[in-house]
């Protein structure tokens, strides 16, 4: 236990240094590609951390997390679009300001998570997986059908949101914004999981019957966790829209939900930092294998299976937990 914690701290410190230094190092090589790739890692990592809160800690296997990611992205893209078109939406002119649009993205995703969560948390096991997937597919098809917002083709953002009125042109600045937000998310989720709330959420995963007998209405705690995770995914989606300056229904496709799950499982369920590592591994593999073959997922599948078999606690667990008896 003690040794594992020490290793975790060292790994986190090293990763922090590497992530802070990355744009500077990339700049000396004159590479912007690395910064873009690393920004994707930060955003995916953030969404994976949020998914870990419900899957890893809560034991709620949601197969629809991309819906909240996509809703967050569409919220900022639509607000910018309405402003540019001069057409108000729900009586609101729209905005290009991050300080307004990003919280709104979190609000929209959080509300969707509240409704879908309240309905799907009545079920459990395989039914829960299927119903979260079904809701996400529903959202997906709504946006495919919304021709006004580009339908299948998606919706471009002419430029990034402004932050407090200032434009975010420099990819390095945007990178550091994402890094700061990821750090804040990890800090908060870490707090949540160790709090009284987190003990109830985790306890309900381990033994729901016991928790009910103690007097906990576990469904309420699960719903709150589901909403928190949805809001963070919404923020991730808002950042993604700003990175790509484009949103499309692909953001909420079931394959995207699957990718987020792979990142969490790869990194280590219930390990807080692990999902970021999982996201890094995923992006590295995706960007290298996809250059070799467009069927890279056929190669990636077995890799994930092998890791699940030989490192059941994921990459993070494999790095930090001392193997017993070895």
């Amino acid at each position: 236990m003690q040794r594992g914690e020490r290793i975790s701290q060292i790994l986190v410190a090293l990763a922090t240094i590497a992530l802070v230094a990355l744009p500077v190092v990339a700049a000396t090589f004159g590479s912007t590609y690395a910064v873009t790739l690393a920004t994707r890692l930060l955003i995916y990592g953030m969404v994976a951390v949020s998914l870990d809160l419900i899957i890893g800690y809560g034991g709620l296997i949601s197969f629809g997390h991309a819906a909240y990611f996509g809703l967050g992205g569409y919220t900022v893209a639509i607000l910018a679009f309405q402003l540019a078109e001069g057409v108000p939406i729900f009586g609101y002119d729209g905005t290009n300001e991050a300080l307004v649009a990003w919280p709104l993205a979190m609000l929209v995703s959080g509300l969707a998570a509240l409704v879908f969560g309240a309905l799907s948390l009545r079920t459990s096991g395989a039914y829960f997986i299927m119903i979260t997937l079904a809701f996400a597919q529903m959202v997906y098809y709504v946006f495919v059908a919304l021709k006004y917002y580009g339908g299948d083709d998606g919706l471009a953002m002419a430029r990034r949101n402004t932050l407090g009125g200032a434009r975010i042109v420099d990819p390095q600045i945007f990178y550091y914004i994402c890094l700061g937000l990821l750090a804040a998310v990890i800090f908060l989720v870490g707090r949540f999981t160790r709090s009284r709330f987190g003990m109830v959420l985790t306890g309900a995963r381990m033994n729901e019957r016991r928790m009910a007998a103690l007097g906990f209405s576990v469904m309420r705690y699960r719903l709150v966790a589901f909403v928190i995770a949805g809001m963070i995914a919404g923020l991730g989606g808002a950042l993604w829209a700003n990175l790509a300056r484009f949103v499309s229904p692909d953001m909420m496709a079931w394959t995207k939900s699957g990718e987020f799950m792979v990142m969490v499982i790869l990194g280590g369920l219930g390990s807080l930092f692990g999902p970021v590592l999982g996201a890094a591994a995923f992006i590295l593999v995706e960007s290298t294998l996809s250059e070799l073959t467009e069927y890279w997922q056929v190669l990636f599948g077995p890799v994930v299976v092998l890791i699940a078999l030989f490192a059941p606690r994921g990459l993070w667990g494999w790095l930090t937990v001392r193997r017993r008896g070895a």
């Binding site: 009284r196 109830v200 033994n207 019957r209 009910a212 007097g215 906990f216």
Partner: protein, 247 residues
């Protein structure tokens, strides 16, 4: 005043009537034992009192409030605590975590997101005290899966008592314990007598006769006799149905 009052309770599983028009009244601060052969419907009765199992008909009244339609957590917060015949613990948590959760449940809302629950002395101090009471003080930091079967049974009781209940249901608490361990629990239960209402299901007749103020004998979902240990011992119906020749 009665702490628990059950009237006309019926529970059917298909063709089987596991609880058959059952009536039972337990006075406040009484220790009431329920004995009966395997499959008599004892755990099914406990399940209905806690709310895990919904009866087909009948009413359950706790402290003069009809709780028949209440959920499990609602009844628990009203002062009911139960131990499970088959231990129900949070595997992956330590013994102390498990007890701390029971204490946390009685300290108001758990929608508290920021402070570290494992460093909260308002949870940890009483949790350690409860573990000490059942003799598990030195196992506090062990994960549940590292505990022996008997220790898990003791932990189950520590959790139940940590809920500071007014009404305690114990479903074969001593089953699977060593002789020494069960002696400790008998002593603990007898020290609790008069401070809470206890419904005790137990096969160990020595323990039952030593502890119970009154006993009820449950056979095929029906209570065939209720009375003091002496009355039950000499009751001819009970001798036929349950105690057999050796009582």
């Amino acid at each position: 005043m009665s702490a628990l009052h059950i009237a006309g309770l019926v529970k059917r599983f298909g063709a089987l009537t596991a609880t058959d028009d059952l009536n039972l009244s337990v006075a406040e601060n009484e220790l009431h034992a329920i004995i009966g052969p395997n499959g008599a419907g004892k755990s099914t009765l406990i399940g209905q009192i806690t709310g895990e199992i919904q009866p087909n008909s009948g009413t359950i009244t706790m402290f003069h409030t009809d709780v028949t339609r209440w959920s499990v957590p609602q009844r628990s917060l009203a002062g009911l605590a139960r131990s499970f015949q088959i231990t129900q613990l949070c595997q992956g948590f330590t013994a102390e975590d498990n007890v701390a959760l029971a204490i946390q449940a009685r300290q108001g809302s758990s929608f508290r997101f920021f402070a570290d629950a494992r460093k909260d002395r308002r949870l940890r101090d009483p949790a350690r005290a409860a573990l000490a009471r059942v003799g598990l003080a030195d196992r506090a930091d062990r994960l549940v899966e590292e505990l022996s079967h008997g220790e898990k049974r003791q932990l189950e009781i520590a959790i139940t008592l940590a809920m500071t209940p007014r009404l305690i249901l114990l479903d074969e608490p001593m089953a699977g314990m060593s002789h020494d361990e069960s002696q400790k629990i008998v002593a603990l239960l007898s020290s609790l007598k008069g401070t809470a209402t206890i419904v005790l299901i137990e096969h160990d007749m020595d323990a039952v006769f030593a502890l119970a103020d009154r006993l009820s004998v449950l056979v095929s979902g029906r209570i065939i006799a209720t009375g003091t240990a002496e009355e039950i011992r000499v009751n001819p119906d009970v001798r036929d149905a349950y105690l057999g020749g050796d009582a």
